[in-house]
Symmetry: C2
Subunit: 550 residues, 2 copies
């Protein structure tokens, strides 16, 4: 099939990757079409139109309308929807994970385009991977929306004030574009959903925005940031400047003001993380020169240094602009980089000279929801209704495909007249085997609770408390909580973290399957049961060791 | 809060349950409103409008439009979105599963309404629970749609003809209303999605409808069933009458014609099951008189025999009609039963006489998609475009809430002009610990495959084949496939089922977490590794036992 075909392989199905394919298709001559094969590898078979993603939270736009099938955008391009396993730059081969069948797939290339974007830098904040919801993909928006609805459902029937307060607390980490647009839409959704819940009041909601810098929206001018701060504060959003997210736990967040030593715990049901960003793990593994943010350094021609056949763009690359600045991670820049990248790949194949990337940005826009936005276009700053109208017109115009434009316009039309949706589509199963993080002093479970999971201590120490008295300490490698499951009795002790603790939890269902059938587990569980048929269900040690007088 | 309030507790958030709450709210007097508390327990916070669910597969209707929030339909009703754990008829208490917090919830009642519907009778067909997609809830429709798109994605890049044929084969079990409407919409979706895939042709698709009876649509007259059979056949759907679904496996289905002894295997990527139905497990556990389908027998007043305070309706009850027939499981009947049930509960509270359920059905409708339907209304049978228009008008009229009516009408309007969506929203994680079923002769994995899972044999026997030679047999309790994961090498043998086999599979990710941290697993895996660092990765037995000459 490939014969003497030139194979252009694009990794990544975001703006940068998909538009590179689209520009390649557009710029190819009829004869080139027969000799060039374009392939896009993307986990999803659609491209997310990121600027409108926040509106999916509030339900202003239908979730399926914020995405476009890649196949319909780039009709001559081969699309492969698998995870990338590895890149072999020497043999010029990319290996993909198995899918339906347990077989990997290899794709050879002549030109490689890296457009893998960024991901959250999970390692910097304990518990973030386990408990925070990122805000990047469509699945994230849906997961976030469902988590909010579930919290409202539970809160409506909750009589314990502390529990109720926790259920009605929502935290967003990061006060940049993404965090601000996300929290604005969250607040808007909460406001429109609340009247359907009989016992909930707006005054009970706690919506917190955490920002480590001294102001929000550092991407924009100070006056617009101040306007935004003021607008969000008036809507009841609690903006914490100069405040770092220290940890995310199963119960909420641990935060710390930059100028203070004391940590504060905020119990919350939903935590969204929009920062900090890290390079994609594949990008991190590639032996190219990177900048301090981990982005691949490229020439003004978007070419990877020293490799005429490898290109990098979008958020995963540091693309120099004519004004000396590195291109910021926005859709408008990714689009123009894709244009330049496609032109330069074709120029390389044709043997013609390459062109430099020459875009410096048109402006910046952030929607605040409820007919308000802030805008900075060609140096002019404005806000409010006019900015909001400009925001809608620009993004509707930019949305690829006339069918989606119509669908979104239709969504916006109905949103003016019809009530917002408050349904929770429960399609996310709880993970059978998961990691959990708890901060010092937090409770894993209480005496008398229903036994829903078994835990293994990965890191840290826990205290076992029976009837208010500490009776034992658990450390790394110890298993607890299994007797409540095996014997089907309530928890006979309270488990509290004595230090920051990492746990692995195994759901009741998975535990039963494993105990019944996996020889090793069955044996060690039998052993534990034999030793501990005392009324306590939490100890894996032979003798509960009293470490505190009681 | 309850004081001298009368507590009416409704179990189930389908038509029967939600409409009972709505009719109660409507029929209560102003003073009764202060003395009666209505609660609905439903896993979802929305009601699915079942008749339109098939259109979600094809994307004719947006998924969120086929559901309505229960809180907006029954505004004075308390809604609790949890699983039901148990019903205590003696103490008059219902216990619910924990949700956010590991605490159960108890709800006392004065009147109990059971409207729990049915579920699939998984136990009758091996592998159905593990591998078939049911078609009842919104999540099912979404899962089905995604499975179809994923199969197309994979098939488009597949060169192996057998794999490609399997990926492009789709099977629906059950030729009643549900199965027929489902397969019609599936075919319609496949037809509109296919042009976006560069290598796929309509002639490669295999869409099979299995029906154990001698004709499809046994609910309707013979002429309409024949018309439907003809219409679907012309669209390329392979209808197998008199054919039973014997098993669903990880590779496809095992079927058998009633008049033949031979079993046939159809390799398929997507299997939908619409039959057989079984009572909800809670209904099965209740000590009431049941009919042979497991439905609760009630009086014509919808009252459970011998319990003036317990009511049962909808698909989980056998409600006698004035014409001597038991009410069929349709929305129109559930609605009228809810009306009668609400009236009779209030009559009981008021001490007035009860009324008998007096509805016998208005007619039957089934949509065949693509502007065609079959109808039997007041004894008149018709089909085609007219039936399809009647179908749309009736169901749009029946859909509760004017906002949803407008949204659906808008969806239907755009569907006439805009292309269908082919995006696959990958929000379903693969289960970390799952059960899998294989039929005699089917392959679990092939030598050289990527090691993605570890398996434990729960039932049946497997053959280990290396380079075409059988070298060992594995039986119950044995573990296999672990070395490919621990040592990160490809599978060193092919594993084939020697009999129908039930397995538990543990994903690579979950296995790594467990091996690293769960003491018992780590020990036994170390043991296995020590014994078998031979090039074969599949044996848990000390000595591979050759049971066939080779």
């Amino acid at each position: 099939m490939s014969g003497n075909k030139q194979r252009i392989l694009i990794l990544g199905g975001g703006f940068a990757g998909v538009y590179t394919a689209m520009y390649l298709e557009k710029k190819m001559s009829a004869s080139e079409r027969d000799h060039i094969e374009i392939t896009v590898v993307s986990r999803q078979n659609y491209m997310v139109f990121q600027p409108l993603l926040p509106e999916v939270i509030s339900g202003t736009i239908e979730m399926m309308h914020v995405i476009t099938p890649i196949r319909r955008l780039a009709k001559r391009t081969k699309v492969v929807t698998r995870n990338i396993q590895s890149v072999d730059l020497h043999q010029k081969i990319v290996t993909l994970d198995p899918e339906f069948q347990p077989r990997t797939m290899t794709l050879p290339f002549d030109h490689l385009v890296i457009a893998l974007g960024t991901r959250l830098h999970y390692d910097l904040v304990p518990g973030m991977r386990e408990h925070a919801i990122p805000f990047k993909y469509l699945g994230d928006a849906l997961r976030l929306r469902n988590a909010i609805v579930q919290a409202l459902e539970e809160a409506d029937n909750e009589s314990d004030p502390a529990q109720r307060r926790r259920l009605l607390s929502f935290v967003v980490g990061g006060g940049g574009f993404s965090g601000v647009e996300c929290i604005a839409e969250m607040q808007d959704f909460l406001r429109s959903a609340l009247p359907a819940y009989r016992t909930l009041r707006m005054s009970e909601l706690r919506i917190v925005l955490l920002q480590s810098a001294d102001r929000i929206l550092p991407e924009m001018g100070e006056s617009l940031a101040a306007y935004t701060h003021d607008t969000l504060s008036k809507r009841g959003i609690d903006i914490r400047l100069g405040t770092r997210l220290k940890a995310v736990t199963a119960c909420g967040v641990v935060i710390q003001r930059k100028d203070q030593a004391v940590e504060e715990l905020i119990a919350a049901s939903v935590v969204v993380a929009t920062v900090p960003a890290a390079p994609h793990s594949l990008v991190a593994a590639l032996p190219f020169q990177k900048d301090k943010l981990g982005r691949i350094v490229v020439t003004p021609e978007i070419n990877v240094l020293g490799r005429g056949d490898v290109w990098a763009l979008g958020d995963s690359a540091a693309v120099p602009q004519p004004d000396g600045i590195t291109s910021p991670p926005t859709a408008q820049h990714a689009l123009r980089q894709a244009d330049a990248c496609a032109a330069n790949i074709l120029a390389t194949l044709r043997g013609s000279p390459l062109k430099k990337f020459a875009f410096t940005g048109l402006g910046k826009l952030a929607s605040l929801g409820r007919r308000s936005a802030v805008a900075e276009i060609m140096g002019i700053r404005f806000h409010g209704l006019l900015a909001w109208m400009v925001w809608r017109v620009i993004y509707l115009g930019k949305f690829p495909g006339w069918d989606r434009k119509l669908r979104i316009a239709s969504d916006w039309f109905w949103d003016e007249f019809l009530p917002r949706d408050i349904t929770e589509v429960r399609i996310f199963q709880k993970e059978a085997v998961a990691r959990e993080h708890f901060h010092t002093g937090e409770t894993v479970f209480d005496q008398g609770d229903f036994g829903d999971k078994v835990y293994v201590v990965v890191k840290g120490e826990l205290e076992v408390v029976v009837d208010g008295c500490p009776v034992a300490t658990l450390a790394q490698g110890e298993v607890f909580g299994e007797i409540a499951l095996i014997a089907d009795v309530p928890r006979s002790a309270t488990l509290k973290a004595k230090s920051p603790v990492d746990l692995i939890s195994i759901s009741r269902d998975a535990f039963e399957k494993l105990v019944k059938h996996l020889p090793g587990v069955k044996m060690s569980m039998d052993e534990i049961l034999r030793k501990h048929m005392a009324p306590r269900d939490v100890m894996a040690k032979p003798e509960p060791q009293k470490d505190l007088p009681c």
